[in-house]
Symmetry: C2
């Protein structure tokens, strides 16, 4: 007998959600295509080496390994996972993109503007709203060292969210180099930075006031934490936070991206309308260690967490292929977007009226042909016509169809 439920942590998509997902994918593709992003696809499976390259951070602990096959699988000699597995399911779209770009660089335009929408897999502990298979939706620009890349990514991603019906959201922006500079200025020592940033990253949930305690509790410099928090507080209420920090941190400002930040924010603010805000946020860290410059994140008022994020990762292509290629990407939190839309009972705009025809069993071949001809004609005209066998329990069948969005239902009996 069949196991009826999906495997642990993964889920079936029901028709009403799938229609919304398809609509979102098509809106997103339409938007990004106008910006010149070209769709690509990479295999769901990547080599063991690439997946364990250290670029994935904690995600590398969550890889679904794929079993070696045939003669390669020597169970009796196997000591560890790597003995029985030489590939696995991708946990993100960034590592495959960097492999793709490195492999096909000669055939691709430069800068290369890529759009990838695809599934990724992580063996996370199953919990509400978090699944082991989920869709990611990334745009990336490879080969552009200028802040035009950031500007484009922010404009395009925000536009895509607006086209999905979202507004009033904030794109938060920071620069890892500026974050570093302010932390050093505040008195943290170089070697503590990584751990300090992990704590700062929790500010959203833990609250600003608890940061100095948390930093001290973890064994780092409380005075530095308080100095940094006071700068953060001042910047937060300033009309020109980047300018304020620029003045405060003195010689630490060198090469920390202040000019770029100003340019990006200036340009985005000049182009964007009031459906969303671009906000500088010195406390924005973004988890992944591969970021080298700007980082961004989308905050939706109706949803506490992040609905997307990204940043610049100029060193990853080099670490992978030995060729230095600047890179920058922005990812929409596709599953969260879908969850928000489903929660608010989203209906696809301008959806056409659908009709269902119930055909009684025993209808003569001649009459059936007439019915099907008429249906075909209406479909050619763009209408949706479901022709289906009439069930014994017509009342229930009609209710089900009404629930599936069929506004008009015709009953076609065999003898009429």
């Amino acid at each position: 007998m069949l196991k009826l439920k999906p495997v642990t942590g993964m889920r079936d998509i029901m028709p009403e959600e799938m229609v919304v997902r398809d609509w979102c994918v098509s809106k997103i593709k339409e938007t990004y295509s106008k910006y010149g992003f070209t769709p690509i696809d990479t295999p769901s499976v990547e080599s063991y080496e690439n997946l364990h390259s250290k670029e994935g951070g904690d995600n590398e602990k969550l890889i679904f390994g794929i079993l070696k096959r045939g003669e390669k699988l020597k169970l009796e000699e196997a000591k560890c996972e790597a003995d029985v597995s030489d590939s696995g399911l991708r946990y993100d779209l960034t590592v495959p993109l960097v492999r793709y770009y490195s492999c096909h660089k000669e055939e691709l335009p430069s800068p290369f503007k890529a759009l990838q929408i695809g599934n990724v897999w992580r063996a996370d502990r199953p919990q509400k709203g978090r699944f082991r298979q989920f869709t990611q939706c990334d745009i990336d620009i490879l080969g552009d060292p200028t802040d035009l890349a950031e500007t484009e990514l922010i404009l395009a991603t925000s536009e895509a969210l607006c086209n999905l019906g979202f507004k009033g959201f904030a794109v938060r922006i920071n620069d890892r180099r500026l974050l570093r500079a302010t932390a050093l200025w505040a008195g943290f020592s170089e070697e503590d930075l990584e751990q300090v940033f992990i704590i700062l990253d929790k500010m959203d949930k833990a609250g600003e006031d608890s940061i100095p305690d948390m930093i001290e509790g973890a064994g780092y410099d409380r005075a530095a934490a308080e100095k940094w928090m006071s700068l953060y507080g001042e910047a937060k209420v300033s009309e020109d936070p980047v300018g304020l920090i620029n003045e405060k941190i003195g010689e630490y400002r060198e090469g920390c991206g202040i000019d770029e930040l100003k340019e990006i924010m200036g340009c985005v603010n000049a182009v964007k309308d009031d459906r969303y805000d671009l906000v500088f946020d010195l406390s924005l860290v973004r988890g992944m260690s591969y970021y080298t410059g700007t980082v961004f994140e989308i905050s939706m008022p109706e949803y506490g967490g992040s609905c997307g994020g990204g940043g610049r990762y100029d060193e990853m292509v080099n670490r992978f292929s030995g060729q230095s290629v600047p890179a920058c990407g922005f990812s929409i939190g596709f599953e969260r977007i879908i969850m928000l839309l489903m929660d608010r009972g989203f209906k696809i705009p301008d959806e056409k009226k659908k009709e269902a025809w119930l055909i009684e069993k025993g209808t003569s071949p001649e009459k059936l042909s007439e019915i099907m001809k008429e249906a075909a004609k209406l479909r050619t005209e763009g209408r949706t016509v479901l022709t289906t066998a009439m069930k014994k329990n017509r009342k229930f069948q009609k209710e089900q169809l009404a629930n599936s969005g069929y506004e008009e239902i015709r009953e076609l009996f065999r003898d009429k």
Copy 2:
């Protein structure tokens, strides 16, 4: 260092192909949705038990197993694959669909008309045009025992192919029960049928004349083979092949689907136009053992092999869940369709003109904002405007962009 190539047997999709794939998916979805097929999705991963349920035939030998994780993985005690793997990648969309339907039956309309487009994985020996990850595109009707299901599947699938620009193809149809009946009538014994059908299935490639030799060589009845081939030959040139077989096979005709075949063909022929043909073909077998009635297959004149197929599989839901539900499906050979389109240099119809703006490094923030505003305005009007950093080798960059379909290229210098 990164492994630059995709894992063995899988492939990266380049932008020019991806655009065609996206266009096809959207055309197919649009067509099927007019027929009332609803999109669904199932996880790429299925349980070991479901994948090894015997419904997959030879595909079960090609499963990519997924390694158990954490404490569940006991390598030192492992004797066989099942000890180290409790799930794997799906090798088709039919087994997951039957699981899905069995799991969610109460929430789904009946009959349920499902559309699934998704990747499947098979560890086939890599060869030209055959990959270990590929996209399948299936429609299925569950819960309709009448031949309205077949009629709908054939009309919808053919329409989808026509909407992709194909014409002059043939939908071949047969009924497994009729094939059985004619084989028994010809003198084959019940227990030889499965093997005999495997040989008949090779007629396309081996040629009709070699069938009796092949059957005799495999140890089966040559006289029966000759008798069957003579019936096949007569039917092939008859104007009413089904009627002819009906007359010939006498009492063997009972319950072998002749009336249904006539009805399906009558109705499809009445509705369809001349862009494709529906052809009865007594030699059509279709590989999978789960088919219980009608089988169909698409032949394209420009491509020797099959470009799609399907049939009725009324017993599979029952074998899986103990509930008897009639089922019937039709699958488009998505990868072959794409290959045919790419080979003929297919261009997406009515594609809008695309323009690219090259922006010189050092352009002032004010000017950059003006440029981006203008681009945003044009995009709102529906135009595709790629804004990108100007490279040092402008000539090469412009060539690359022209190759990517950018007809108009503007060069925006910083001092103009």
